[in-house]
Symmetry: C2
């Protein structure tokens, strides 16, 4: 069973931005981010020449730290619940001790992460929010770039280079216009630095990417491709799409780069250097694409705490953990939910065994996820709760699933009660055959929901017999099943549309 | 403080449809509908000739009752938590005792409401979900029509007539086509029956309407007017719009009436009789419009229990109760929320006192509501929680506010953090001047949110001084306010756009 709820704050003093995040968790049941204060502080701005944090950025930083200290005090977060870490810009600054002393005066004890520690938290964030098992993790920040080799979900080689976006912009692309020469020099520099990662070429096939730069580039690529506005989590940013985006950014003057849809205005000035860095990593490592995750250093730190003492602190199965996490946050009739999932999978399996459909295990996993989440929308309002379930799934997100899969799960939940399943505005995310997949899973889920309409698990399980164009459904139950039969009978049309066969409920 | 959570089920065996609803409540804090099983049973079908419930409708009814009994047992609802009531069709049936005995055998003890009781619950539902103080309540069901005269929120005269939609359809509009003659006869019959309500003419000006017919007609009128898809709660269906809709329905054959957008297909066959009945009530009572409420008999019964021992069991202030109810369901940092509301109202009042705006109390109430609800979206996901707050407000609804007001509150919450306030797709619901209203309230709310960014109520209150084109804002605080000043400074543009004056933060 779940322990009592606990809270943890992580303060991430990055080279480009500062972020305070608060996580709440009932370990073993759910976790979520509950608060965030983001400030585009740019503490690394202007460090280049002197190696020192500059007065203005330092003032901005201390103001933000003061805000964070107030906030933690007001939120009742004790110092042992708050972990503040600093990365590249502060780590490497000649006057770092002065800064740390002033932060301490303001009430915040800051821990400077080593390069290896920074990379390790990036690895934990990525492997806990994607299905990456073999490949590499890229973490691109304002000050540094980390790469971690991953084999069988374990971290192997780790590297960190001072190739962050703020640094690279100041050094290579300081002007209003980015010349070909400057871009070439930047690219050559990144390539040269990464040569020390002898493991990188051939570490593929998969690369997971972390950090605001990667997220912004992915969002821009999704907008450029005309995809619906869903989170970037799990999106694959291909080399081609990235090259196109980089070319568009390079064509624009500095102050227009933040206008590219998907790029945040405050990131406009450093995004081009970031795009070149990511592109060069793909090239050197020979990756086709980078898979975006929205988790970051902060989540890595949080997961290390949440999942301790596991070593490494990883979810056993990221997708399953995501689904259970979201379901447990809403906790809508767990017994009913689990039973609908069991009935759905039982019928889906029987139809696969009877060769009524192909039995793709990936489809089965989506159906399970949808069944586990079909009722969470009740927390918004009972009326139209199928719509609300869809909204909550799309907006909370499910790390481990890509946007297409997330959208399919959301649509299945949407159609668990009413309506004729279609992909709607999410269609651009889909592949061929996905509408048929949606229809199959929705029909099975709705049938299961009807069999469980009285919510008493009176229909224990089902048996299906495939007889030519007819599927005969037998209800295994204790006691009277007339209500379940009567409720299920009304789903015949949907079933027939999905599977091209009639449905007959066997006599009691 | 709030008592422990309690649950109540109401089973409403209506003449057209049966409905089981489950309410959960923490009395003094919140209440909500958590479950609903709706069945279009039509128990009143075919009663006309014999005065007896017919065998087929009775079988459908008993099946549904069985489902409800299973459901209550599975949900752990004890019999003292379940109240089952029957209305017109069952009340008036010659074989009602047989039906009640069979329901009892199936496990449900059904109480037959008298006409007066039925009308009284309709009154409680309407006056607890609208701002109606003087006027009348119309409750139109499948079997009967109730009217209640309301003065100073108390029920005076009560009437009930066998003018329900199922009955009237069978008697006057049984065919595929509704002839002018039939419609005229129906209208004359309703008028004649209502003549016994001598209090009805002149009982206005306001009429609140209850029941699926009124809701469906309102939804259809909203669709016809091209309004965005928000709930019908609080919508005023005018006589003109109703006449147009009735004419369109009358032009269609029976089986096409359910295709009119907004009308539910299963209600298509009885909607025309319903439209004529409502129209005739408006005519006889000389009302301009009927204000829709989505509450019904079930809510009336629930409110009587929730608000006991108050006599009559009414919320003191319906709007305030709605806002607090929704806020308490999510309970996102109540102290922060209340303080943002207090700061917002303080600044809004000061600007009104300085004649910077007109100081309309209705605007003030919307601002208060938005402040109380601005953060509820955090429960969906911290990212974009301003969007989620908007979604939750629009979808949960706020009885007592009309669709325009609800939309304004939702937009204010949407703009409490980011973006440039506009009405967006909700614009068709608005009046002239509403965009300026939204900008004013959003600017004040965002300023308050920034002053309370550290969530520690360190800015106790504010003082405003209007000096020509400049508004000087003084922060009354204990201790250092540099963080609050720094956060608030960034809202100057928004303030200037909203009020046409500069904002200056007074020196600490």
């Amino acid at each position: 069973m779940a322990e009592a709820e606990r809270r943890r704050a992580v303060v991430d003093l990055g080279s480009n931005s500062f972020r305070l995040v608060v996580f709440a968790a009932a370990p073993g049941s759910w976790w979520k981010l509950t608060d965030e204060i983001f400030e585009s502080v740019r503490i690394g701005a202007g460090v280049g020449e002197s190696g020192e944090l500059q007065p203005e950025p330092m003032e901005r930083a201390l103001h933000t730290i003061e805000l964070y200290v107030h906030f933690c005090r007001a939120s009742g977060l004790a110092s042992e619940q708050v972990r503040a870490v600093a990365t590249s810009a502060i780590r490497d600054a000649a006057n770092r001790d002065e800064f740390l002393a002033r932060a301490r005066e303001a009430g915040l004890e800051v821990e400077v992460l080593s390069r290896e520690e920074e990379a390790r938290y990036a690895y934990l964030a990525a492997v806990n929010s994607t299905t990456l098992a073999d490949g590499a993790v890229l973490d691109l920040g304002g000050g540094s770039l980390q790469l971690v080799e991953v084999r069988d979900r374990h971290a192997l080689e780790v590297g960190s280079w001072p190739l962050g976006t703020v640094r690279m912009t100041e050094r290579f692309l300081p002007g209003e216009r980015a010349s070909k020469k400057h871009l070439k020099a930047l690219r050559a520099h990144v390539r040269e630095e990464l040569a020390s990662a002898s493991w990188l070429p051939g570490s593929g096939p998969r690369l997971a990417g972390i950090g605001g730069t990667v997220r912004n580039l992915a969002a821009a690529a999704m907008r450029a491709a005309g995809l619906p506005r869903v989170e970037t989590q799990g999106f694959r940013l291909t080399r081609d799409a990235l090259a196109e985006l980089r070319a568009e950014l390079a064509d624009r003057p500095l102050d227009k780069r933040g206008d590219v849809p998907g790029i945040k205005p405050e990131r406009g000035d450093i995004i081009l250097a970031g795009a070149v860095a990511v592109e060069t990593v793909l090239e050197v490592g020979d990756f086709d694409s980078v898979e975006v995750t929205e988790a970051g250093l902060r989540e890595g730190i949080f997961f290390a705490d949440l999942l301790a003492p596991a070593q490494p602190p990883l979810f056993e199965d990221v997708r399953e953990a995501s689904v259970r996490n979201l379901a447990n946050q809403y906790e809508v009739e767990p017994r009913h939910t689990r039973h609908v999932a069991a009935l759905s999978l039982g019928m889906w399996d029987a139809l696969a065994a009877g060769a009524v459909h192909a039995g793709d295990p990936a489809e089965r996993e989506l159906l399970w996820a949808a069944a586990m989440l079909h009722d969470i929308g009740v927390s918004v309002d009972y009326d139209d709760h199928h719509h609300h379930s869809r909204y909550l799934i799309l907006n909370a997100g499910l790390p481990g699933f890509d946007p297409r899969e997330l959208a399919l799960i959301a649509q299945m939940a949407r159609y668990h009660r009413k309506g004729s399943p279609d992909l709607g505005e999410l269609e651009p995310l889909m592949r061929k055959g996905d509408e048929a997949l949606l229809r199959r899973c929705s029909a099975v889920l709705r049938l299961a929901e009807q069999l469980e309409r009285s919510r008493d698990q009176s229909v224990r399980s089902t048996r299906m017999e495939i007889d030519g164009d007819l599927v005969r459904l037998d209800l295994l139950a204790e006691g009277d099943v007339s209500v379940a039969r009567w409720a299920a009978e009304r789903q015949r049309d949907l079933f027939e549309q999905a599977f091209g066969r009639g449905l007959e409920l066997a006599a009691a």
